[in-house]
Symmetry: C2
């Protein structure tokens, strides 16, 4: 379970897409949300767009691995596709905020790896947030304040990267993914290989 | 402190050299040894070649971070160059065996990262060991037995890589180095940066 968090506008969506393009062994966890789709967003791809009643049902049926309220909308991760992917030996990428990450961490799973992406500067972040033309000035201001709040949780993550340059940032996030897969605790598949190696002497 | 261990012949020396070429932030720890130089080996570069009396003196003066006896020769890591490099903010690469790694691990330093390189097969390892023309058949056989012994300690390491393909193996070892540097616990240098970021709102 590979978590990427960052303030909105720090480039997390680009990094996530490029990571998925690069590595077929990792798949995206698609969150459910009660917020309306933005132009271009596809149901079932970017989010599962659900109404508040449906979201409540999912919560009550314990079908969400984590959930959070951001502004006036709810977000949550359906548990079933995640468990299915993990059982197939795939890694799962989570694009969630600090609230969701805290909830995953509370489950004390040994397969959780969390990465926080910092923007290179406040100015850069503001430029990126203003870049979304469909949002009003009030929404931008609100998002800046939320970004500050999100950043305050940076030290709760396993790894910290700074998105100064998107290519460099991608290389760093990819290195974390590769390295985590090579950890001894995840290399139990090698036990028979090593046994055969030693019997070869 | 970045440790690479492997049985002799698994490609560790090549990986170490290429890692040093690639990344100027990591420097090699040069071991002291009582074994005679092999053809082409340079004193102070490949090893500090010392006589047994000198080695004993270093041990008694506590000038070695770790030491081990392999076959009839002693090997040890002089502590001073390591501490100097670490103080300069550099990483230090150690080409040591399981005995030395255990001694470093006993110091419970939080900056120790250990990687074990496995050969792809016993046959491949034997081919590589026979490739060193200057060694006799008896030495090759002894080294094969030592390789088996070294491999038996693979599960004491933080990361395991298989040297199936040297380029791929280098990428994996490099990813481990990059990722470890991005760990939150090593990112205390970012505290002021994050503070400035948040004050920018």
């Amino acid at each position: 379970m590979f978590v990427l968090s960052s303030p909105s506008g720090a480039g997390k969506t680009t990094i996530s897409r490029r990571l998925l393009d690069r590595d077929p062994q990792i798949v995206m966890s698609v969150s459910a949300t009660t917020r309306p789709p933005r132009p271009g967003e596809k149901d079932g791809v970017d989010y599962h767009f659900v109404d508040p009643t449906e979201f409540d049902l999912m919560l009550n049926r314990m079908e969400l691995l984590e959930s959070a309220k951001v502004f006036d909308h709810y977000y949550g991760t359906p548990v079933e596709p995640v468990e299915d992917a993990l059982e197939q030996g795939l890694d799962v990428l989570f694009d969630i905020d600090w609230q969701g990450t805290q909830q995953l961490a509370q489950r004390k799973r040994d397969d959780l790896v969390s990465v926080f992406i910092l923007p290179p500067s406040t100015r850069e972040l503001e430029t990126r947030l203003r870049g979304r033309a469909q949002d009003s000035a009030a929404v931008v201001a609100k998002r800046m304040s939320q970004a500050s709040d999100e950043i305050s949780h940076w030290a709760e993550y396993d790894y910290i990267v700074v998105n100064d340059d998107v290519d460099q940032c991608l290389e760093e996030v990819y290195a974390i993914l590769v390295a985590e897969r090579l950890k001894r605790v995840r290399r139990t598949g090698l036990i028979d290989f090593v046994k055969a190696l030693r019997e070869g002497y």
